[in-house]
Symmetry: C2
Subunit: 191 residues, 2 copies
Amino acid sequence: MTSETPRLRADAQRNVEGIRQAALDVFRAHGLNSPLDAVARAAGVSKGTIYHRFGGRQGLIDAVVEELVAERITGIITAVGAIEDPVERFESYLRQIWLLQYDEPAANDVLLRSMPASGAVNALCEHANENAGRLLADAQATGKVRADLTAEDVCLLIWERGIIARACAEQPRDGYSRRSEYTLRGLRSAS
Amino acid sequence: MTSETPRLRADAQRNVEGIRQAALDVFRAHGLNSPLDAVARAAGVSKGTIYHRFGGRQGLIDAVVEELVAERITGIITAVGAIEDPVERFESYLRQIWLLQYDEPAANDVLLRSMPASGAVNALCEHANENAGRLLADAQATGKVRADLTAEDVCLLIWERGIIARACAEQPRDGYSRRSEYTLRGLRSAS
DNA sequence: AGCGATCTTGACGCATGGTTCAAGTTCCAC
DNA sequence: GTGGAACTTGAACCATGCGTCAAGATCGCT
């Protein structure tokens, strides 16, 4: 496990970096399914180079997903952790995840697992899901959130909102979150 | 306005009928965006014939949408009209429309207006939407349904569920309706 | 039966986007 | 500086699906 890297030539090194940056930009704007042509153009190289260096979309995603998305998700998890009221914490988490899905197509793609799954992507999802499970349990313990809601339901509700967010491109943001709020209300206990 | 039909040759007549039937089958199974090739193959003719006879997807849809979908939607409207309780009536309407969207891709496509809109399709949608508006108003009059819900919200909730239904192909039906139920709950007044 | 009008065919051109690879270019160690 | 390994290119191939049209097949009137 020592020096495993055969060391890239200087120009190749430069290209790898350029492609990574371009991928960050393009994926950020249009999601992880953007044409690789677009990434190549943005990086000033040709498609073939991406295949050489990253082995295709899959490898390229692996190379940027962390920097692209991880922070956004862990940021939400952290921020929400500071909220005292468990119900508020749970609902705030969903609200923020749902908005993230609207605002960042790439994060959405990750949460939807809509591309050939990679280790990095899966790890992120697992992490988010575990967290959601905990938040749910705490919220349910107060009796204010429906007891029949399962952790799987929560995942699928996130999945559903992601699907909608993806189709929402021309739909206004506040309509989207207005309707998210209705769904959220539906998760409360019938009092 | 007398005899407007220049009368088709017998073989053409036969083909028109065959294509209509094939379109009904294929659209029923895979939605209104099925490749026209598939319809042609099912009808035992070539693509070109569809273009000749119907002018393309648009015309073909116009020719079958009524038989394909109208009855399903008006059926729901009628069935639901017999329910006394306005809240029950409203909720039952949404439930049934949402299930229709899951069960029939073609009906879903119509409700989503996801293809080049035609007169027939639009008329159907308008009709459904007007009905939904009335049901909503009645339900709200009881005070049991959120007063801040608008007719437009209802349309968009139908749109959202349609988008989900479309992506749901491999998702189980009862999970879909389970989550529909959550959304429905969210439309009740906070009591 | 024959002829012209009607009808159908299927190959073509378009566009999108993934994936590959022979040929050409650039780097760098010597 | 130069030779050869490392690197890049871009055109070629794939597949999907729409829409068109010249050429050939069929119908049905006379």
